[in-house]
């Protein structure tokens, strides 16, 4: 069990700035995110797209904003716990017990949800009942490539993940069956060329303009049915299936935590951005209140105000003093300045 002043759910820009606002008040924090890196939507969806409305930054990108925030919070040495999401939050007297999908357990007076539009989850093929195949022989990522050795592997998708794995697994698999919705690919040209060569040499069977129609099998997939643009179907025997249809965002377990929700957002007050539960806060795109704007800059403001209440809960015996970063020697110490 990890004891901490605050657990932040979501490593997007607002989650990262929350680390800063807590840090200058002398509070430590742990950040949990379902992606494999910090940055949230900024990094996963639009790393290269310009953002023009961050105060005092005439233009930045999702990636540069993330990097700058990571630089800004460095002095606080907070810990990140990536590739996992928070499954449960339970009350324990005045504290909260937070458990992740990797069974990390935290005890904290403050939980700050900076979850954007939810956690990123793999997008699944639109086929009913495929959950029964998941982790048997249907996968959305490759954890151990050797399990595909000697197999006939069907890969769905036309992006970098699909093509990289098609090329890589063709070295150990018996055959790769690559199925894509279009006849153009979104991957690096070099990889597309490699894949085309493997197709010519017979290592890869390529089906373009095709989509998955059905997966047949009782407990694991035995064959797949794909359909082309002319609605013609084809049955293919497979040993395993990899589907790379990108990521989507889902609110996930958050809906089970007893918080007041408004559609896909969490209702908060505008005094300290606390939810209906004491010590659980929501900031950034995931919170809602009258007049809410889904802007990064609004999230920064929300984080600053939530942090004040977090201080009172984490250090009930200490007097809260408002300080500016320009002049406070305490803050300078926390920032590692002399």
């Amino acid at each position: 069990m990890i004891k901490t002043d605050a657990v932040i759910i979501g490593a997007g820009p607002v989650g990262l700035f929350t680390v800063f606002e807590l840090g200058i008040l002398g509070l430590n924090s742990h950040v949990i995110d379902n992606l494999d890196k910090a940055g949230g939507q900024c990094i996963e969806l639009y790393p290269d797209k310009p953002i023009y409305d961050i105060p005092a930054l005439p233009v930045c990108t999702g990636e540069s904003l993330t990097n700058n925030l990571l630089e800004q919070i460095k002095p606080f040495k907070n810990e990140f716990h990536l590739n996992q999401r928070v499954n449960t939050i339970k009350k324990n007297n005045k504290n909260w017990i937070v458990e992740t999908s990797d069974h990390l357990i935290f005890e904290t007076p403050n939980v700050i949800i900076a979850g954007g539009v939810g956690s990123f989850e793999p997008r699944k093929p639109p086929i009913e009942g495929i959950e029964r195949f998941e982790d048997k022989n249907l996968f959305y990522s490759v954890k151990n490539k050797n399990q595909f050795s000697g197999q006939e592997v069907c890969i769905f998708g036309g992006g970098d993940s699909a093509l990289d794995w098609a090329v890589e697994l063709s070295k150990i698999a018996k055959k790769i069956i690559l199925v894509h919705r279009r006849d153009e690919f979104r991957a690096a040209q070099h990889t597309v060329d490699q894949m085309m060569k493997l197709k010519e040499s017979g290592k890869i069977d390529l089906y373009t303009n095709c989509q998955p129609k059905d997966f047949i099998g009782s407990s694991s997939i035995e064959k797949i049915i794909i359909e082309d643009n002319q609605k013609e179907t084809k049955e293919i025997k497979v040993d395993s299936v990899l589907a790379f249809f990108g990521l989507k965002m889902e609110l996930g377990p958050i809906v089970n935590w007893g918080l007041n929700l408004d559609k896909k957002t969490i209702v908060v007050n505008t005094h300290n951005f606390e939810t209906n539960e004491k010590g659980i806060f929501a900031v950034g795109d995931i919170c809602s209140y009258p007049g809410k704007l889904k802007l990064i800059l609004c999230g920064f403001h929300e984080a600053a105000l939530a942090a004040q209440e977090c201080f009172k809960r984490a250090k009930p015996d200490e007097k809260y003093v408002f300080r500016f970063t320009t002049s406070s020697s305490d803050i300078h110490k926390r920032l590692g300045l002399k």
């Binding site: 939507q41 797209k49 036309g158 990108g246």
Partner: protein
């Protein structure tokens, strides 16, 4: 103002007047038409504003950008008439356009 008809998957029709210069996605979100999520807020980065454009209107739309084609790979049950609502800007030319919404987004 261009008039847009949104047809939900269950057949419910919503006819709304949308300000010129806004997108099909924005027209739906601002008028509370259910069935368009627009998770990324219109930056052509998520494929949750997927619509099927009425056959009569498909040819009147500007061509898909590469970015839109790439994102449509991730949409649920695409057809030949699939587009992303955030990439269709409304003007007088498109007055009267109709779009159907998929069973779900993503």
């Amino acid at each position: 103002m261009p008039k847009v008809t949104y047809i939900e998957f269950n057949g419910t029709e919503h006819v709304v007047n949308v300000e010129k210069g806004l997108t099909i996605m924005e027209g739906a979100v601002q008028n509370n038409v259910p069935g368009i999520d627009a998770d990324c807020g219109g930056s052509c980065a998520c494929a949750t504003c997927h619509v099927y454009v009425d056959d009569d209107w498909v040819d009147k739309l500007p061509e898909q950008s590469d970015a839109e084609k790439d994102m449509l790979d991730f949409a649920f049950e695409t057809k030949g008439t699939s587009r992303l609502g955030c990439q269709i800007f409304l003007d007088e030319e498109l007055d009267g356009i109709a779009v159907s919404l998929p069973e779900k987004q993503g």
